[in-house]
């Protein structure tokens, strides 16, 4: 197995910074995309791909690999950057996000992009697929863990709760889901659009083991993911308090950068902050 594994928190933080730079450059180049929710999930995705997950970028369909489902598929840039930085495909490809005749679709496409374990984009659906992958793991007595990232706005979809109910019913302790709790969606704050609070209590009530963390503290993230993969008897929900647009000051805590691409000057400012 040939994969880039980072042990130190410092190295993981540096990797996350590189991924944030990739995200900014990709969306700038594409002229469209979702920076806010990509940046909020960056530290979580970095910890998964560069420390926690058992993967082999040279063999993306390896049947014993850990799986990752980005249920909030609009955060595709963070996944693509992590896959490219891990070696699933060339970093050069990141320059062709959302372009015709290229593989990096606006939302993840498992048929086109090496390393994408499930096609997502229509909110609420990825977590159901993650439940299916976890069930298959149990059926085949595999050791792999399924990781899924869902959004808090996404959790307004009823299907999320159907899947959450099913995962607890089937006692899928091989499923670890991370709620990217950035508290802002396309139009505005989740609590004003349609509150999902109290989120952690809801998942507990649905029969999940819940771990609450700061979703930008790399040490806490790695510790929580490590605890989660070892947890037995229940699926685990890591409620990660995050900041929409994290790492780029003018994108933080605002809905304005949910789905808007940075212009030339925005990009220079962002890259200066992420240097």
């Amino acid at each position: 197995m040939n994969r880039k594994r980072l042990e130190s928190i410092q190295d993981l933080e540096n990797q996350a910074k590189a991924i944030r730079r990739d995200i900014m450059m990709m969306i700038h180049q594409a002229g469209s995309g979702h920076p806010g929710g990509s940046l909020s999930a960056t530290d979580i995705v970095t910890a998964l791909y560069f420390n926690v997950m058992n993967i082999d970028p040279e063999n993306p369909r390896w049947e014993d690999r850990d799986r990752f489902v980005l249920s909030k598929g609009h955060a595709a840039p963070v996944l693509y950057a992590a896959l490219a930085e891990s070696g699933y495909f060339q970093k050069e490809d990141l320059k062709h996000l959302r372009e015709i005749d290229q593989h990096l679709q606006g939302h993840p496409d498992m048929k086109g992009t090496p390393g994408v374990d499930m096609t997502t984009g229509s909110l609420g659906q990825g977590i159901s697929a993650a439940v299916g992958i976890a069930l298959a793991g149990k059926l085949d007595q595999k050791e792999y863990i399924v990781y899924a990232v869902i959004g808090d706005g996404e959790s307004q979809e009823g299907q999320v709760w159907e899947a959450v109910m099913a995962a607890a019913h089937f006692k899928l302790d091989n499923l670890v889901t991370i709620l990217d709790h950035n508290r802002i969606q396309l139009v505005g704050p989740c609590c004003e659009i349609m509150s999902v609070e109290p989120a952690a209590e809801k998942f507990k009530a649905f029969g999940w083991h819940v771990i609450e963390i700061d979703g930008h503290n790399m040490e806490e993230i790695v510790k929580a993911l490590t605890e989660a993969k070892a947890y037995k008897g229940k699926p685990v929900m890591i409620v990660a308090k995050t900041v929409k647009g994290k790492g780029v000051s003018f994108m933080e805590n605002t809905a304005a950068w949910h789905g808007n691409a940075p212009g030339d000057e925005d990009l220079q400012r962002a890259l200066a902050e992420l240097a």
Binding site: G124, G126, A129, A130, G132, I133, A136
Partner: protein, 311 residues
């Protein structure tokens, strides 16, 4: 009438498929006794997943299982297996072309007393419009069983439309299901009747009536509405020069539309559609509903009279 419901063919077919291939799994949404998956459940309890009344999640879970090499059959009533989960079928199954089979039982108005909420008259139209889906409507028990076994061996999304009520046998256990091909059932010279599902039997009965009138009908069973057997359809239509379609489904988007599309581009011929005329059903016994909504042999005969005047 000697016959059986096509859902029974599914129940037996999926059990056989499960015996042949350990990757076959079944999911159901709290209607397992009705969808006839109970025998599979008894034989392979570890490969059966009761998903509760949560069809959207069921389809997504089936997609996830398929990414791991499983061959999931997800079964529920056709209304809940089509319009209710159209987005899940589109985005989680069809777009990634995952190997998921949808067993949609209780299709059409022949569900009967449950009424319009449970009578899918538009499911073929929905599924036919989603890329990558194969849409199969078996006409009897034996064809259903064979189609299910064939679907298990085909790699890709399949929608199987099945009935609640018994339909007369058209075939017997020796029937060989030929993937994607129309099946001529009766040779004739004057008019071609393309029929699907429960309407195949009605078309054969209509042909008998027409024979007494001196009209020779060519009856073709269209078990696969998508992808449609273009060559077979064009050949059968041109053989007589006049076309009837018969389906227990809306005349919009189903067999009638599919055949009209092919003929309009390849062989303009007079054509009449027998089917549900853009309306919901209602409670009633299946045979009463078939009569009221114009889905019996005499309706096909009337349509033939009309089309022959235009020939």
């Amino acid at each position: 009438m000697a016959g059986k419901a096509t859902r029974d063919g599914f129940g037996v077919g999926v059990l056989e498929a499960g015996k042949k291939n350990g990757n076959v799994v079944v999911l159901d949404a709290d209607v397992g006794s009705s969808t006839r998956v109970k025998n599979f459940m008894k034989e392979f309890p570890e490969r059966f997943f009761e998903m509760g009344i949560a069809e959207s999640n069921m389809v997504g879970v089936a997609a996830g299982l398929a990414t791991c090499g499983k061959i999931p059959f997800a079964s529920t009533f056709a209304v809940f297996a089509s319009s209710r989960v159209a987005d899940q079928l589109r985005n989680s199954v069809a777009y990634p072309k995952l190997n998921v089979k949808i067993a949609a039982t209780h299709a059409g108005i022949t569900v009967g007393p449950d009424g319009a909420t449970h009578q899918s008259v538009e499911d073929i139209a929905i599924l036919r419009s989603i890329p990558n889906f194969t849409v199969i409507v078996p006409c009897d028990y034996y064809e259903a069983k064979a189609a299910v076994e064939a679907a298990a061996e085909y790699n890709g999304p399949v929608y199987l439309r099945l009935t609640r009520g018994a339909v007369p046998f058209v075939f017997d256990e020796k029937y060989q299901f030929e993937w994607g091909k129309v099946v001529p059932l009766r040779d004739g010279q004057d008019v071609t009747i393309f029929a699907t599902g429960v309407m195949v039997d009605q078309a054969l009965k209509a042909a008998e009536i027409l024979e007494t009138e001196g009209i020779s009908a060519h009856v073709v069973n269209v078990h696969t509405l998508k992808p449609l057997d273009l060559e077979g359809v064009i050949r059968a239509a041109q053989k007589t020069g006049a076309v009837i379609t018969a389906e227990e489904h809306s005349i919009y988007g189903g067999l009638g539309s599919a055949i009209a599309e092919v003929l309009a581009e390849n062989a303009s011929l007079p054509m009449q559609r027998v089917g549900i005329k853009d309306t919901f059903g209602e409670s009633g016994e299946p045979d009463e509903l078939m009569e009221k909504y114009g889905l019996v042999d005499k309706n096909i005969v009337e349509a033939v009279h009309v089309v022959l005047k235009r020939k």
